[in-house]
């Protein structure tokens, strides 16, 4: 049995090695769990929307709640102009949520506990939002870096600071999700290790902690997916409704 708390994060290859142009594109356990998450979402939503009853069943109720939740979040934070981006934010939220939640199952792998996964998602959002901003406002989007009511003397300094603040968006977005997931899962594993090493006599206290932490981790899994999606909405809002 692996007692190393970081062992759960190791990525290993499943099946044959695939190399294209010197880049390792083999199918790993990380890719497997991404496929599982996407497949679970697909099955869950297609079952939930199959029967359209006036009085919804359990699955239909959950999928409708999910839809309403995201729709409300987008209209609250980014306004009605963001409606066309609903499919993107919906898939983003459900994907992150299911990756986090499937990671909570024993013996599974948490895809979002790897910074490369969250960073790619965040950089994609960052580039998309920047492109949308420039398409909607042209060069006027650069006004985002020039806050109103700043003395001219300070302007060069403020612009540099604003640009750094803008560039820090994908970093903070990805690091937050990755750090929360990794820290939580490491902590669970460490407390699990305490239960084993303290045995029947002293193991009950860490076991209790483990149970409490599992509850907390489920909260964090949901919360981080929510924060990830709501920040995307906020960035989208900056790009769509330019008012600084």
């Amino acid at each position: 049995m692996a007692t190393n708390p970081m062992h759960q994060f190791s990525v290993h290859r499943i099946g044959p090695e695939i190399k294209i142009a010197g880049i390792d594109l083999s199918f790993t356990n990380a890719s497997l769990f991404m496929v599982i998450s996407a497949f679970t979402i697909f099955v869950f939503l297609s079952l939930g929307t199959k029967e359209k009853n006036l009085i919804p069943g359990k699955l239909q109720l959950i999928s409708e709640m999910l839809y309403n939740f995201i729709a409300k979040m987008i209209s609250d934070t980014a306004g009605s102009k963001a409606k066309p981006y609903f499919p993107f934010i919906f898939s983003l939220f459900t994907f992150v949520l299911f990756c986090n939640m499937i990671g909570m199952l024993p013996y599974s792998f948490t895809v979002t506990s790897h910074i490369i996964v969250t960073l790619v998602l965040a950089i994609f959002i960052f580039i998309a939002v920047t492109v949308i901003g420039f398409i909607k406002h042209g060069l006027g989007y650069l006004k985002l870096f020039v806050p109103s009511g700043v003395p001219k003397l300070l302007l060069p300094l403020i612009i540099v600071i604003e640009i750094i603040s803008y560039l820090s968006r994908p970093v903070s977005l990805s690091v937050r999700l990755f750090a929360n997931m990794m820290a939580g899962h490491t902590m669970l594993k460490v407390f699990g290790g305490f239960v084993i090493s303290l045995g029947l006599l002293g193991g009950w206290l860490p076991l209790g902690f483990s149970v409490a932490l599992t509850g907390l981790e489920i909260l964090v899994a949901f919360l981080q997916a929510y924060v990830f999606a709501i920040l995307t909405c906020i960035y989208l809002n900056d790009a769509l409704n330019l008012h600084h």
């Binding site: 604003e162 750094i164 603040s165 820090s168 903070s172 690091v175 937050r176 919360l223 924060v227 920040l231």
Partner: protein, 94 residues
């Protein structure tokens, strides 16, 4: 007996009201926890990005270590700006 019945219905109404309020509080608290998680990384991320930009520019212009120092402080300022922006957003919402 009508008195106890009356009391029971009133208790029921009061309980349902209380539950409603508690649920609302929970929802609000949930979003505040989300914001609280947000603030810390917001500050650190800008410092990291600023320092990285400084490092890249330093190797570019061969001016070690001046730009990395300057951009570290600019990054810290950007981090504080991020936190202030987020705090303002929380204030607007509540």
């Amino acid at each position: 007996m009508p008195d106890t019945k009356d009391f029971k219905t009133r208790l029921k109404i009061a309980k349902s009201k209380l539950e409603k309020n508690m649920n609302q509080d929970d929802e609000k608290r949930g979003s505040f926890i989300g914001f609280a998680f947000k603030l810390g990384t917001e500050l650190v991320a800008a410092v990291v990005v600023g320092t990285i930009i400084g490092f890249i520019l330093d190797t570019w212009f061969d001016t070690k270590p001046w730009l990395i120092i300057i951009f570290f402080f600019l990054g810290s300022a950007a981090g504080m700006l991020n936190v202030i922006k987020t705090a303002k957003r929380i204030q607007e919402e509540s």
